[in-house]
Each structure stands twice: as structure tokens, then as C-alpha cells.
Symmetry: C2
Subunit: 226 residues, 2 copies
DNA sequence: GGCCAAGAGATTGTTAACAAAACCGGCTTT
DNA sequence: AAAGCCGGTTTTGTTAACAATCTCTTGGCC
């Protein structure tokens, strides 16, 4: 039996997690110059571990750093969000294809169960946006890990998804089109269950492409501003 | 006029660069547990900046870290290298497509010039493997930046290429098939020059796919071992 | 009145010492 | 004899003080 989570997590790890979520949730304004001691007080730690966490965040592109001038949260634009979706399209397409080839039957069954509970939540239409988004992340998360492609999962889960979530919070836009997305998810899982990698890739690419165009449209309508 | 390179580079940056190249070139054995003080002496710096660099490298997947147990260079397998090429295939395909849409005419002209000098070097057949590899990196580098997709370029140049280079050094395999690769490069640039993004993507994917199968074949023949 | 320069203040980069946890040896115990 | 326990030693994680750099303000000059 394992005790919750290993407390062996270092202070720098905590700082990294706290800062990452803070940035993603928009608690730290983009472009804002943030001082180290300010962060130290905020997260109750000293500069050593903090700088280590800062380095990791910079390496992941969530912070930009100018020597001797401090760090600031990365500035984001609507165009860059769309570029992110282009990357997601090809990478998650690959993930879906490899997941179709490599996921265990049990994993696929779990994935279908996930969609069932997801569907129930949508139909109840309560807490719709939040659960929708969470369910969406869960879905894509499982497929990324199911690809059995270590680096691919690392890039998706460690880099891209956090970026996308950051934009999502900034845009304060719920995922939108919940029913349609669920149907697309169902079809992707179907393809995976049939071990049809080519189809799974095609459907996933189309799914993300549709999401991208949805955002694009909202931007053109002026509904999304920064 | 700018003075060579800004000396404003911090010690942690130096450590990061040194360590990265050391890992990539295989000077640090994979799976080897390396002590911090050992590295401090080696690169003539103290533990503060070193730890910052270590964090960045861990975040990029070149090191693995166990709390209180030290860092070790990431262990690599032949299978993971092939997985890397799968990722390259889709990402660089996207890069080629976007490069075809967005590169300036000047950039395209430069790219063609690069291939010319590259061809000359191959025909002289002296220092073939080295220049071949360098030219190959240069080619892919230009297309990645030419995509004008910030995050895409960041992921390719900052993560994937270093990984691939690491494997290359470990396998001590030259790129192989120099003439064929050059021809493929030429065709890709042609497609880009004609602003045919779809074709550029197709050709790039096929190019990387061919490289992957080349490696796969060598592995099966037992020519590549770890 | 606006621009440039110099200095004070603050902030970042770096270093060295301190505390805690993991590894390794030998010992005891079954 | 093998396995588990225990303490010393090494190494990592953390902290606090020091040094170098940048920024902002103030003053002077054009």
C-alpha cells in the first residue's frame, strides 16, 4: 500500500508546479515582470529552489528571461494559439494512430467508460463547461499515453497541453460545442477499438482541426480578445 | 555593429550548453550516475548555477532525476530512436507546409544556395559524413524557422534535434545515403519555391520516413547496437 | 523644455556553509 | 550462510550572505 503521494518531492518541484498552475490559470499576468523575492514570499520558499523552477519553466517556454533583468510571463497572441492547434493536429493524429496499434483492450474499455460518464455529465448539463473541459483533457491525455511513444507523450502532456490551457484561461472560453466534440471522441475511440490506426489518425486530425476553426471563427467575430 | 556574442550569458547558461553538448556527444555515458561536485569541477562552476542547468536539462528529457539520489543521463534504446522519427515525420511535415506558405523569397533562395554548397561538398566526397550531417541539420533547421511557427520551431530545434543528434553520436552512424537525401532535399525546396505546401509536406514526410526505414533496416541487420 | 549622464537603490547572479536524506559497509540474528 | 538492521560517509537539498548588473531618479547641460 502506498502512502498517498511520495513526499519525496523537492521544494523546487513544488515551486515548479505552483508556478506552472499560477501561470496557466492567469494569476500571473502575461508580460508582467515578476521579482524573485516576490515569488519567494508568495510560495514560501527561498531563491535557490525558485531559480531552479524558473529555469525549468523558461525551458518549457512559459517564461522568458533576460539576464540581470528578471523574468516575465510569456506574452501570448491569438495567432499563436492557432499555431498551437496546428501542432496538436499532427501530433495528436500520430498519437491516435499509435494508440490504435498499441493500447491494451483494458485501456480502450476504460476510455469508453470515460466517455460514458462524460456523456452523462453533459446531458445533465450542470457544470457543463468545466466538466466538458476536464473530460476533454482526460480523453486526450489517455490517448497520448496510450501511444506508448515516450517522447510524444512527454511533449504533449508536458508542453503543449499546458500552453493550450493557458490560452484557454486567458481567453476565458469554454471548449464550446460539447455534443459535437463528444460524438467525435466516440468515433475516434471506435476506430481505436477496431485497431484502425489510419482512421483514428484521420478522425483525430479532423477533430482538432474543427476545434481550431471554431476558435478562429470566434476570433473573427471579435468574441475573443486579448 | 555587434560585439561577437553578448557576454551577458549567465554561468547557468554556459553550464547548460556545455552539459547539453557533452550529453549529445556521448562524453557522458547513458545511465551513468553523475555527481554534482564532479560536474562542478569539470566545468569550473559552483552548484547553484549547475543545479539550474540540471533542471533545464531534466525538463528537456536529456536527464532523469531521482530526488536525493542524483541525476543520470537518459538511457536510450533503438526503439525510442525510431519513435523520434515518427514524431519528426509529422512535425517536420507541418513545418515544410507552413514554410512553403510563409518563407520569404530571400530565405528560399538562401536555402537553395545552401543545397548547392552541400552538393559540392558531397561530390568532392571529402569529409563526406561530417559535412553531410551538418548540411542535413542546416537544411532542417532553416525549414523549422521558416515555418514562422514559434512553438513548432522551439520544439524541433530545442528538443527533438538534440535528441536525434544524441542517438546519432551513440550509434556512431553517419547519415548514410547522402546523394539520395540531397535529391529529396532538392525536391522539397522546389515544392516550397512553388508555394505548394501540400506537396512540401508530403515530400518531407516521405523523406523522414525513408530515413527512419534506413535506420530500421540497419538495426535489423545488426549493424546498429547499443 | 527636453535629453543625457551619473549615482542610489533594488534586483539578479553567485558563492559558501548548513541540514537532511540516501548509499555502503559491517554487524547481528535467524 | 543469508537476510535484515544499523551507523558512518557521501551526496543532495536548502539556506543565507556577498558581489555584480540593471533600472530609475535626480541633476545638469544643451
Amino acid at each position: 500500500m502506498l502512502d498517498s503521494l511520495p513526499q519525496t518531492q523537492t521544494r523546487a518541484d513544488e515551486a515548479f508546479d505552483c508556478l506552472q498552475t499560477a501561470i496557466v490559470k492567469g494569476e500571473l499576468a502575461p508580460g508582467e515582470k515578476i521579482g524573485e523575492l516576490e515569488l519567494c514570499e508568495r510560495f514560501q520558499l527561498t531563491r535557490g529552489p525558485l531559480r531552479e523552477a524558473l529555469g525549468r519553466l523558461e525551458s518549457r517556454g512559459l517564461l522568458v528571461r533576460r539576464p540581470h533583468a528578471g523574468v516575465k510571463v510569456v506574452s501570448v497572441s491569438a495567432g499563436e494559439l492557432l499555431e498551437l492547434y496546428r501542432i496538436r493536429e499532427v501530433m495528436e493524429g500520430l498519437a491516435a494512430r499509435q494508440a490504435a496499434e498499441r493500447m491494451t483492450d483494458q485501456e480502450i474499455a476504460d476510455l469508453q467508460t470515460t466517455l460514458d460518464t462524460h456523456e452523462a455529465m453533459i446531458e445533465q448539463a450542470q457544470g457543463q463547461a468545466y466538466y466538458q473541459a476536464e473530460g476533454d483533457y482526460d480523453f486526450h491525455h489517455r490517448i497520448a499515453t496510450g501511444s506508448r511513444n515516450t517522447k510524444l507523450a512527454q511533449m504533449l502532456l508536458g508542453d503543449l497541453y499546458y500552453m493550450v490551457r493557458m490560452y484557454r484561461y486567458r481567453l476565458s472560453t469554454s471548449a464550446g460545442r460539447p455534443h459535437m466534440a463528444l460524438g467525435e471522441h466516440r468515433r475516434i475511440v471506435e476506430a481505436i477499438a477496431q485497431r484502425d490506426g489510419e482512421l483514428a489518425e484521420f478522425l483525430m486530425k479532423r477533430h482538432i482541426n474543427a476545434a481550431r476553426r471554431n476558435i478562429e471563427q470566434k476570433i473573427e467575430e471579435g468574441l475573443l480578445t486579448f
